[in-house]
Symmetry: C2
Subunit: 318 residues, 2 copies
């Protein structure tokens, strides 16, 4: 995965993905005594950055592929489903049965076939392998795929321009981290073009596999598979491709509590007027409650949140 | 108020106001069977388009002015307060005591002095005149001011570029309308640069003074002063400056029910991941429930909404 691959992916994304705004709010800055910028990927098509990687991968497929398959708790699935539909390809998304209802419904609405499995008992990979073999589908991995990482890196290229326009030359760039595709893509783009901006992956407490891996120098797994409301970024372990990139270019990682992610969601509602899901608010939470630098950029990675949880979050924290 | 004044205002706004994105969502388009675009002015600094007009007016003041005063139910006041603070000017905002708490709190947080009055009993204008005279403040009207209209017109200039980029040459442009400053500014900009885009002011049922005025050819007043949740756009009658502009360049007007504005808020939450206040969702509601054209652009004018009302809206309509 090279900076040139990110530039090529960005060129393929042009006119298909949205250039998301870099937001800030004077009253939020005043309340926290620092400059806080938010790259609002919740405003991306399908409601998360995942559409970028999906489009990048689908648009780079060799001719003759008839369809694609992806595993996803929701956002990657929505991204792949829309990218596949717009390329005229069949699409199967394998989702855990306990994924947020809104994400399952949206994947179907984008025209994909949804296959549900039980996280506790089913062998997801065997299910996917069988479907790929039977139907001739191409697997699009959520983060350990160079074209997916390159697509996510287009966030970083936009950030280079937007930071320069805002006069930001030195900043911590906090990124919500599951498998590390978004963090690795952005870190590669920034190292090439804006070395004063350094990426820190951000994770929920108890699911800080990337932070522990960066600290120890070895890929570490999480002990639990569920138990946080940040469903979008609960991955078992850092990616094989993403970890070496982040080890070279990013860190240390930051971790936040679920309640801090919810406080960040409420502050984003009040001050930025954007809707964030818990997993998409982890980087903003880290910017507000962990980071101690004078200028921080948080990537708000997604906004697909069931209304009941959003209402509960506003009731407690807004 | 000329197209050149809008260009000049846009030049003064550059680097101070945000270029807001033009959003759309494939699933929203599919649900309503048409192309729907939303210019997200809720993402503007202070959470509404009003910052543009305020900055335009404050930055055009003659030297020697020591401070400014504005009447506002909230969004104009926030815009003027921030623009004044950034110009180093004193600022007094006269607000109805029943304005949303979040708006009163924000005006104060931007550093302005808030003077509250009772809508039913107090003479607001006499209060303002006295304060202006006593303290040497300059009144910034919410819509009947050429520089304010010119600032709001910068939304239209951005829209010209964004519509062209999206390949839109013919569309209805629906604009939330109180006194008509935003509608008049956008209509002037579009008539000059994109004549295939026509403005339609949008209002709540019972407060459709602009729609009735455009239909009759005479300025008509509303009979009630309160009674809609769309607090941001409840003005007594069309502006003296804005009405002739809109009579020449815009209409007919559209009206929607409060419940339709709330349905639009819920759909904006789900599909666009933005926070809209009721008065800021009226144009989107008209786009969804009134307009019958194949391609519509709604200006989502603001997003300052008390969390309790937003929660109630999601509970009923999301």
């Amino acid at each position: 995965m090279t900076p040139q691959m990110i530039k090529d992916a960005a060129a393929r994304l042009r006119g298909h993905a949205r250039v998301t705004p870099l937001l800030n709010a004077p009253l939020l800055d005043a309340a926290f005594g620092k400059r806080i910028f938010v790259k609002a990927e919740c405003l991306q098509l399908t409601g998360s950055f995942k559409f970028r990687g999906a489009w990048s991968a689908v648009s780079a497929l060799p001719p003759g592929v008839s369809g694609v398959l992806a595993y996803s708790s929701g956002n990657h699935g929505q991204g792949v489903a829309l990218a596949a539909a717009r390329h005229g390809l069949a699409c199967v998304i394998i989702m855990p049965a306990d994924a947020p209802a809104i994400k399952i419904a949206n994947v179907r609405a984008y025209g994909a076939e949804v296959v549900l499995y039980d996280r506790a008992t089913a062998n997801r990979d065997a299910l996917g392998d069988r479907l790929c073999a039977e139907r001739g589908l191409h697997l699009i991995k959520p983060f350990d795929d160079a074209q997916v990482i390159a697509g996510q890196g287009s966030v970083g290229l936009e950030l280079v321009d937007q930071a320069a326009e805002a006069g930001i030359t030195q900043a911590q760039v906090l990124v919500c981290c599951g498998g590390g595709g978004l963090s690795a893509g952005i870190a590669t783009a920034l190292a090439d073009r804006a070395p004063g901006l350094r990426v820190h992956p951000c994770e929920p407490v108890g699911f800080d596999d990337m932070a522990r891996s960066l600290a120890s120098g070895q890929r570490q797994a999480n002990t639990a598979a569920t138990g946080s409301i940040c469903d979008a970024i609960l991955t078992p372990a850092p990616g094989e491709m993403t970890f070496p990139i982040l080890q070279r270019l990013a860190g240390p990682g930051l971790t936040v509590k679920d309640t801090e992610a919810q406080r960040a969601m409420a502050l984003a509602y009040t001050h930025l007027r954007i809707v964030l899901e818990p997993g998409g608010a982890v980087a903003l939470a880290a910017a507000l409650f962990r980071d101690t630098s004078p200028c921080v950029i948080a990537i708000a990675s997604g906004g697909n949140v069931d209304p009941a949880l959003f209402r509960e979050t506003l009731a407690h924290y807004a």
